[in-house]
Amino acid sequence: MGAELPTREPARTVTTIPPVPGVAKSDPILTVSSLHRRFGGLVAVDVEHLEVERNRITALIGPNGAGKTTLFNLLTGFDHPDRGEWRFDGRSLHRMPAYAVARTGLVRTFQLTKALARMTVLDNMMLAASGQRGERLRNSLFANVWRAQERVLRSRAVDLLERFGLAQMRDDYAGTLSGGQRKLLEIARALMAEPRMLLLDEPTAGVNPALVQSILQHVKSLRDEGMTILFVEHDMDVVMGISDWVVCMTEGWIIAEGVPASIVANEAVIDAYLGARRAEGTR
């Protein structure tokens, strides 16, 4: 559906939404309400309400310790909230184990890349495909049950690897890839699982500038093909460059959300995040 949109400036369609924390979106794919997670005395996540618009790139920003990764963990079943409810495309994900969340089409990547080092790039890709008949132990002995499916998956994996510029490395161990190539592999691998929404945890962290541009280009073109993306990012240039909507968290709260332009002008964000960074003299 995204392909028919005037995708040059998709932000225009969301500018009519007021930049208020917890504001309702016109077509939310992910809706979070009263999500609460406490680690001992520390409230890591306390999100009153958050909606993520379909077919948009939403950036999640905030200083270190703001609860961004914890929120990702909660949303994807890698951690469980003390209370709260969240729905992905109308379906409640509460109490769902991580693997089941992924099967609903909500697939995440990790801040520290999790390339399966001692498996080939191609095996990394093949693993991710869903609904594999040969993944059942009782079928595993009988190659005739899954051989044809493997062939189809292999060609789909190779196509994706071509797209991400990793096709030449298909038979190399994933552990031999550079940091940036691993990030690309992780995104390509996530796509192999045929998600409807991607949660990318710092997709450009520790990646050289040339590959950062390539990763961002891929993220944009995924959006243009209809994918919804929520990503955690620290680099404000990246955030301003590609996101349609920005959500800012501090100490577990969502303190602001809006189009990128409104976020850089937001007092609360400047105080909590940009201001603090400027004061430190970083970046």
Binding site: A100, F110, R133, G175
Partner: protein, 329 residues
């Protein structure tokens, strides 16, 4: 010095029924540890239930084939018992539970008196007569030169190494399937596999149970060969000897556990016979190593060999060197 005799001794042990049984146990452990990365430190318990399942069933009047199945069924239950409470937790919990549970099981089996169905420390003997009655090999000795086996020994060997071949093919087939791909993904990074929609808990449980069922056959084979089960055969050191063989051969390789077992037993028996001969011949003064010291010294030599292997060939005999050199992160 009878070097031919020493080599014949070593070869006889390296291809003997004990080596075959350890190879089978190693094939099971390789599935769990080599492919899946599960730290099962109670592997010997699967052998124990295999051996006792067989012995008790026959002792109570059942046929031998049923005993083997009972042993395997008990190993499957044991795998579930080990795995269900621990495999959702961090990897270390499986290691803690298995090493403790295996000892608990041995002590419980040992604890009963002679009237208990395990017969306590006395164990159970002469339960495999039907196996030896079925021996189709004509009487006499078989072999080449000094390396020979009796009719009885050859029958155990034939069956034992057939089971080795069957289980090795079985594991090779399931490990190269998409299911096997999940095993390796779990070994590399379980969270990555979960994030891609794989139910890693179930797959780990399957790996533990299948590997355990294979190891039960190793226990059964050992018990049949000796016609004797005793609790104190199943000490924790057996588990670690099997780990040594799997690492020696190369984890997550097809032939690694088999060749690992053969080489392990060859070295152990060779050093034993060699030291004995050397002491007899007066090459080594008894003031340095007496005959009583041979048993510990040979294990020290195996340890030394393993250390050298880890330094010069960390991937084992069959592993791929590149895999070892890859930084896991």
């Amino acid at each position: 010095m009878d070097i031919v005799g020493v080599l014949a001794d070593a070869m006889r042990t390296a291809v003997g029924p004990i080596a075959a049984a350890y190879a089978i146990a190693g094939i099971g452990l390789n599935l769990q540890f080599g492919y899946t990365g599960l730290l099962n430190f109670g592997h010997v318990a699967f052998m124990l239930v295999g051996a006792y399942g067989t012995a008790i069933t026959v002792d109570d009047g059942g046929p031998l084939w049923l005993g083997i199945l009972v042993g395997m069924g008990a190993a499957i239950l044991l795998g579930l018992l080990f795995g269900l409470p621990t495999l959702r937790l961090r990897a270390d919990y499986l290691a803690i539970v298995t090493i403790a549970a295996a000892e608990v099981l041995r002590i419980v089996v040992r604890g009963g008196g002679e009237s208990s169905f395990t017969h306590g420390v006395f164990g159970i003997q002469r339960f495999a007569n039907s196996f030896f009655d079925a021996n189709p090999i004509p009487g006499g000795d078989y072999g080449i030169g000094r390396l020979s086996f009796t009719q009885r020994g050859l029958w155990v060997l034939a069956v034992g190494w057939s089971v080795v071949a069957l289980t090795a093919v079985l594991v090779a087939l399931i490990a190269r399937s998409p299911w096997g791909r999940i095993l390796r993904a779990i070994r590399e990074d379980e969270d990555a596999a979960r994030s891609l929609g794989k139910n890693t808990f179930v797959v780990k449980l399957q790996s533990l149970v299948v590997g355990g069922a294979i190891a039960s056959l190793a226990g059964t084979l050992l018990a049949i060969d000796r016609q004797d089960v005793r609790p104190d055969t199943y000490l924790p050191i057996v588990t670690f000897a099997i780990y040594t063989m799997v690492i020696l051969g190369g984890p997550a390789t097809r032939l690694g556990p088999i060749l690992g077992a053969i080489v392990y037993w060859f070295i152990l028996q060779f050093t034993d016979s060699f030291l004995r001969e050397a002491i007899d011949a007066g090459w080594i003064p008894t003031s340095i190593i007496s005959a009583d010291d041979i048993a510990p010294v040979r294990f020290a030599l195996v340890g030394l060999g393993l250390m050298l292997l880890m330094i010069f060939r960390p991937q084992g005999m069959f592993g791929r060197r590149e895999e070892v050199l890859i930084d896991g992160r």
